[in-house]
Subunit: 246 residues, 2 copies
């Protein structure tokens, strides 16, 4: 059966006062949710909805942040936010800061972002995007009776390859890794090590219908069979001891 990736257009910019599920259910596509749909929300609207929007005029950079900012020709207040969100700096070179966030995500600028927000503001990643996803999933169940999975998606760069792709930063109602270990291939040979990060692939697929300049912060993936156990972001994060690049 063919997979469908359906964009959901919201008519307004999201604020902390909005009920995201109401906004979703107010759309034509949102009204037609089905059991087994996977809803992929962009990080940006979750962050805005949860008040993770920072007024830069209120950020007081330390001397340390100011030093980095001047060496990197960047805004010291943004550097300060990056440092606040960072557990460990992974690389700092060529004007790029790759950090491991408190959530364990490895990404540029600790996920701090100044796009799609008013000048003078920046967004931080949600505090706990698994929790955000679970809350949305439960509220959708309450309001519609439908059992859906929810994934929160963000756009990250990666080593070795140009361009960014969307990956999951939080999820509920879906196991993020599809493990083929022990299964047999078409020659009846045991597949030994293939484990697919389907949550990341679902985020990438959803990015294709969203675009970065449009009012399309949600996508619905329909007709995908998945394991409905409750997974978590940590299933997707390689622990440092097993990572050859940290």
């Amino acid at each position: 059966m063919s997979l469908q990736i359906i964009p959901v257009h919201l008519s307004k910019d999201v604020t902390p006062r909005d009920d995201l599920v109401e906004l979703l259910l107010d759309t034509k596509t949102g009204r037609r949710l089905k059991d087994g749909d996977i809803l992929v929300f962009t990080q940006k609207i979750i962050s805005k909805n949860e008040g993770r929007k920072i007024d830069l005029s209120k950020v007081k950079p330390t001397l340390f942040a100011t030093g980095i900012a001047s060496a990197y020709s960047k805004d010291a207040r943004i550097i300060q936010l990056i440092l606040d969100e960072t557990k460990r700096i992974i690389r700092m070179k060529n004007g790029i800061i790759i950090s491991e966030t408190h959530h364990g995500l490895v990404c540029a600028n600790a996920g701090i972002d100044e796009s799609n927000i008013e000048a003078g503001f920046a967004t931080l990643l949600p505090k706990d995007a698994d929790k955000s996803a679970l809350k949305l999933k439960r509220r959708i169940k309450t309001k519609t009776g439908k059992n859906v999975a929810v994934i929160i998606s963000d756009t990250f760069g990666r080593p070795f390859r140009e361009g960014q792709t969307d990956v999951a930063i939080g999820l509920a109602g879906i196991l993020p890794i599809l493990d083929y270990a022990g299964k047999r291939d078409i020659f009846n040979r045991i597949l030994r090590v293939t484990a697919i990060a389907i949550a990341d692939e679902l985020c990438s697929a959803s990015e294709l219908v969203r675009g970065k300049t449009l009012h399309t912060p949600i996508a619905i993936v329909r007709n995908y069979k998945f394991d409905k156990k409750n997974g978590a972001l940590k299933d997707l994060l390689r622990v440092k001891a097993l990572d050859l690049f940290r």
Copy 2:
């Protein structure tokens, strides 16, 4: 408009004697190709079709390969194939070999694979998957009159995150990176650095309908708007000098 990802089932295992385009056009979905469709082929059938299948009994490992194999408890003939396909070893630790192939791809085991092939054999990556893609694209045009894009996809691991995802290793008729530089966001602010690796996202989306144990080596992505200029794998490969992780 919603995106469709359509699996194409082939009824037989592919050999060098097969005409891949004939096999495709013999299927129900293949007969209904449309202008603007994106066809994603797995590396495995391209490699098999192009004779990149190696009889391991004919591989004579060097002493160097035998040494690595014994330290890693692996087949020395597989190690020999990996070394043959490798330009530069990036990491070699915990029984894992990450190499940069002659194509410039950074991946485990230089893309050598023993799954979905008879025991005693292994597949190498296609020699030039851009060329493979262009050949398929042209032949589809000749046989059907339809203008499609073709991407060759493979399943790679990545640093920092668990699980593998599909990425492009060759393409024709599509620009693999969608560059938002200079475009404006919903607040009319210039988006500065976002460039999306859509070719990789298309491969990931296609992986979702394929599975690893099924006879589904091709997927069609329909309703995706893209730039039909001829891109190349090298657009997706970060040059070593700009890579913080090599």
